[in-house]
């Protein structure tokens, strides 16, 4: 099976007037299907930029990014949106739920953009909420939910359109450690049951240990890669 993510010689340069900052300086990275990878590194290492490019929110300055065998490094904004909708699910540190919408509406939203009819969308959103253990919270708004519950709604939303790649940016960063573990367990469950490919960005080594493989970034390059079984062994 070809890798879900195949990145070759990826560079990202920000230019603002005379300032020229090279944030990513030649990244090569392959992520196989059904893999769970943690991107680790101190702040400023370029991991957020890499995540944005992986999520088609941003484009590399040079290099090639293939997602599911398709080159997505030069897409325009409409095409990027289409790829995000159908291939990618995002989970953010601060949840990023729409505050005026109920849990159900939040989960159904990507399906709305994908053109799924209203009835089917609500049915599917309810089913997914059930899977993340929030069937009885469907009509609650985010401010009526705890942090852990909000992150579970966000995960349900990320999975709504059956993505190939789930990107989680510090998914436990805003949670206490016990809730954080529950969220990680939920991600693990989705990984095992649906074969979801997950990329976690974290500087928490405890969270990174949850991944099968850890990729360490520093100053825009990959400095270290290890497999969980090797490090724990």
């Amino acid at each position: 099976m070809p890798p879900v993510v195949d990145i070759r010689a990826l560079h990202k340069v920000y230019e603002e007037g005379p300032m020229r900052v090279e944030v990513l300086r030649g990244i090569d990275l392959e992520i196989a299907a059904h893999e769970v990878v943690a991107l680790c590194g101190p702040s400023g290492s370029g991991k957020s930029t890499l995540l944005n490019i992986l999520g088609c929110l941003d484009r590399p300055t040079s290099g090639v990014y293939s997602l599911g065998g398709r080159d997505v490094s030069t897409l325009d904004r409409e095409e990027q949106a289409w790829v995000r909708l159908h291939y990618i699910g995002f989970v953010f540190q601060s949840f990023h739920l729409i505050p005026d919408a109920t849990a159900l509406e939040n989960v159904a939203l990507p399906m709305y953009y994908a053109g799924v009819a209203r009835g089917e969308r609500e049915e599917r959103a309810r089913a997914i909420l059930g899977r993340v253990g929030l069937a009885d919270r469907a009509e609650h708004r985010p401010n009526q939910l705890s942090g852990g519950q909000r992150q579970r709604v966000a995960i349900a939303r990320a999975c709504a359109c059956k993505p190939r790649l789930l990107l989680a940016d510090e998914p436990t960063g805003a949670l206490d450690s016990r809730t954080g573990v529950q969220v990680l367990e939920l991600l693990g469950e989705l990984h095992r049951e649906d074969g979801l490919t997950i990329v976690l960005v974290t500087h928490d080594m405890g969270v990174a240990a949850f991944a099968e493989r850890q990729v360490h970034l520093q100053d825009g390059v990959v400095v270290d890669e290890r497999r969980a079984d090797a490090s724990s062994g």
């Binding site: 949106a81 289409w82 990618i88 729409i98 005026d100 939203l109 953009y113 209203r118 990320a158």
Partner: protein, 404 residues
């Protein structure tokens, strides 16, 4: 994909209902604009129709020759007066005309007892069209016999009556016009002032012949009212009158007419044109307020986009395309514009009906104007909504997500 679907519209309405006070304020400007537009166009149209009706009542089968004597001199030799010679020439030579009725006007002193008043004398005949519109308050109008016999009789307007008689009854009394004694046989009903401010009641009407023989008409007739034999002969009559009057005035070829020849449709058209210009002006002013309403929608939506930047970032991150975000905000603009224009159309129609009545204008609320204005208002709202919608669509999702 449709730009704005029904579901998008439903969601837009939900968003707008979250902040009902603001939504109402947003549409207020547009509602006022649309309402003002409908009201103004309806008023203008009503006034126009009233004016036309007035002019049409003067008779549509009548040509009018107007003297240029006393008017502005266009250079060259002074215009000749319209005289009995002209009238006779028309009656003798023309083959298309049924009737030529002159009207003379001259200001003269009228005295009664020791009181004196200067008023406008109208020398005319009962056939003169305008006279038919002059209602009498008391007594009667002179008849054709009086005209033929040059009877020394007159009909007084209310102003000379007030000035000369006070509270006494003028009927049957004899006034002195210039040096000619003249019996008052009728009183004109009060008419008030013309738009120009002229006192329409300051008048004395007497037979043309009487005026011509005893008082003289040094400036000639002011008008000739001419009726063709049939309405179909209007154009031919026009041509013939021009020819005969030019000849009788001794105008050489290439010299301009020294009289004005007006056909009723021309007069009506002129009045029509004037009121159309007025209507256009009113509508223009109202259209400006409509634009201001559109700008109001734009402002509020721009604020809304700024406030919801984070939300837009979320939507973009989970896969909403720029086009879908654009359509979401356009749907909001559309919903606002529809509600605003609808309310405005109702207000405008109501105002048009309520105001026209006491003003005595004809009712002229046209469904086309109401529908057209409402649609125009909707278009304005959507066009102005496009700017904020595009701003939302162009937001960079990464930047937008960072903004809380």
């Amino acid at each position: 994909m449709r730009l704005v679907g029904s579901e998008g519209l439903r969601m837009a309405v939900q968003v707008l209902l979250r902040n009902p006070g603001r939504s109402v304020l947003t549409v207020l400007g547009l509602a006022i604009g649309v309402g003002a537009f409908i009201a103004m166009v309806s008023f203008g149209e009503g006034a126009r129709r009233s004016v036309i009706t007035q002019f049409e009542s003067l008779g549509t089968n009548v040509l009018k020759v107007k003297s240029r004597v006393g008017g502005r001199d266009a250079g060259g030799r002074p215009p000749r007066p319209l005289t009995d010679a002209d009238v006779r020439a028309l009656e003798r030579e023309a083959t298309t005309l049924a009737d030529v009725v002159p009207l003379a006007r001259r200001n003269m002193d009228v005295t009664y007892g020791g009181d004196q008043h200067r008023t406008a004398l109208h020398g005319s005949t009962p056939r003169f069209n305008v006279l038919r519109d002059w209602r009498l308050q008391a007594g009667g109008m002179f008849d054709e016999t009086d005209v033929a016999e040059r009877a020394k009789v007159c009909v007084l307007g209310m102003t000379p009556v007030r000035e000369l008689f006070g509270s006494r009854d003028p009927l049957g009394e004899t006034v002195t016009v210039g040096s000619m004694p003249c019996r008052v046989i009728g009183l004109l009903a009060e008419k008030g002032r013309a738009i120009s401010g002229a006192d329409l009641d300051d008048a004395l009407v007497l037979p043309t012949t009487t005026m011509s023989v005893y008082l003289g008409i040094p400036d000639g007739y002011m008008y000739l009212e001419i009726r063709p034999k049939s309405p179909e002969l209007m154009t031919a009559a026009r041509f013939e009158i021009g020819e005969i009057l030019r000849r009788s005035h001794g105008l050489a070829e290439g010299e301009l007419d020294d009289f004005d020849l007006l056909s009723p449709d021309e007069v009506t058209r002129a009045a029509d044109q004037t009121s159309r210009i007025l209507t256009g002006l009113l509508a223009g002013i109202a259209a400006v307020s409509l634009l201001v309403g559109g700008i109001g929608i734009m402002n509020i939506l721009l604020v809304s986009v700024a406030e919801r930047t984070h939300e837009i970032g979320i939507r973009a991150a989970i896969g909403a395309s720029p086009r879908q975000i654009l359509s979401q905000f356009l749907a909001e603009a559309l919903a606002l514009a529809v509600v605003g224009s609808g309310a405005g159309a109702a207000l405008g129609a109501l105002a048009a009906v309520l105001v026209a009545k006491p003003m005595g204008w004809q009712q002229s609320l046209s469904p086309a104007v109401v529908a057209g204005s409402a649609l125009f208002g909707i278009a304005v709202g959507v066009v102005f909504g496009y700017v904020p919608a595009q701003r939302a669509a162009r937001l960079d999702p990464i930047q937008a997500l960072r903004r809380e």
